[in-house]
Symmetry: C2
Subunit: 237 residues, 2 copies
DNA sequence: TAGTGGTCTAGACCACGGT
DNA sequence: CCGTGGTCTAGACCACTAG
């Protein structure tokens, strides 16, 4: 089962982008250039680029070229409105718990049941509080298997982003997500952290992110105060 | 600005599917067949089919052909868990308000501000209550411009589905959606309908569906009791 | 005007599914 | 075995962007 030519080219270009060989805004080699570099035809080159396009690594511009763009972080994901708009402006993220190794919590305490394979390693846990304009709006609890990821315990996150860190330092991409939404009454802990009264309605998003690394899923609870900042999501065909 | 050949073929096939010329499970003409029917090459035929694939009208099977499949109803949309699994089993849908023509409500009462053009016609409104196993779980309020859609006031919905009705009777497809989530305390009306205590946390999903008909968007509020049935959403790369 | 991506032709060979 | 979709070649012309 030979790998197809276009997926070889696709992998080459993708890993270059991930390694930072191109900055955001840079242009990839033109289609014609790819053709003669790799001795392929434009059909094949375009197919490879199409894959990158679908994955959100590039953006094509007629007459100009294929531009590397900011990797979309949320794949059909829900994001706090204002987090995207006000990016880098009024957003604060603070660690309530820096990444630590712990035994896995009971399955009932997790957003989704982990797979057996994941339970063989210990669990890495971290917790963050995200705020807009000084007001806390989201508490985020993350669980995942420590296998091969213990380096995460030391360093800082790339640009403050967990997903960017996975991509740039470990070459792991998010490949999908499964979510579950519930409206809950705030318990004591969440009400204190999100500064709402106990019993106030909050939104809990349970997420299971699947990744390109087999045996690695990220399990997260997101507790959101949606009073001022609702959670938003766009979908275009 | 001539239309591309592949998008012509794409339109032809799409309208045939929508008109019901093929049943779900039927196969479209093979790629080679399309080639000689329309005097095109396989590149062009495949491009047309690729569009149908992206839109979810067909499913390709290596060695067999392109099969017409059940049109996916929710585009990146959130659906009640159990609505998909238990489809046709324990689901009940009842009209609280059959489609009627009304003046547009105040903008503040709508999920998203309508466009000016839409306000020129009256508004069609309908409201449904959806339940699982006899328990109400979701109240759904829908608003949209009546322009060209007054026939909706008479007939039944195709298979009980509003979107299927739009597609089969009006050839209108949903092309995207914008959503906003909030956790709210149930007001009197919703608490009675969803059979929860007043003040209980409920999830409100505000949606704006864009469609293939210019000047038509569907605005909806979904009030969900997530106690037993959370709202779920999968996303695969 | 030169270079880019978008569309399209006219073939070819392969892998898969069913007879 | 034959017909299907998946991949790929080697070209061509067009529309868009920018110097």
């Amino acid at each position: 089962m030979a790998e197809t030519r276009y997926s070889q080219i696709h992998k080459i270009l993708k890993s270059r982008i991930q390694r930072g060989a191109y900055d955001v805004g840079d242009f990839l080699p033109s289609e014609h250039e790819l053709c003669h570099t790799y001795s392929i035809t434009r059909t094949t080159a375009r197919k490879a680029l199409d894959e990158l396009l679908k994955e959100g690594f590039i953006e094509k511009q007629h007459g100009k070229g294929s531009m590397v763009k900011e990797r979309r972080q949320s794949l059909g994901l829900l994001t706090v409105k204002g987090f995207s708009e006000a990016v880098g402006e009024n957003i604060q993220t603070t660690f309530l718990q820096k990444p630590i190794i712990t035994p896995w919590p009971a399955v009932a305490e997790l957003p989704f049941p982990p797979e057996e394979r994941e339970l063989k390693s210990d669990c890495i846990y971290f917790e963050r509080l995200r705020g807009v304009s000084g007001e806390p709006v989201m508490r985020e609890c993350n669980y995942f298997s420590a296998e091969g990821l213990t380096k995460l315990l030391d360093g800082e996150f790339v640009e403050g982003s967990f997903f960017k860190t996975l991509s740039k330092n470990f070459f792991i991409e998010i490949t999908g997500s499964e979510q579950e939404l519930r409206a809950l009454k705030a318990d004591k802990q969440s009400s204190e952290l999100l500064k709402v009264s106990e019993g106030a309605p909050i939104l809990r998003i349970s997420v299971k992110f699947s990744t390109s690394k087999t045996g690695l899923n990220i399990y997260s609870y997101l507790y959101c105060n949606t009073e001022k900042y609702p959670i938003g999501n766009d979908y275009k065909h």
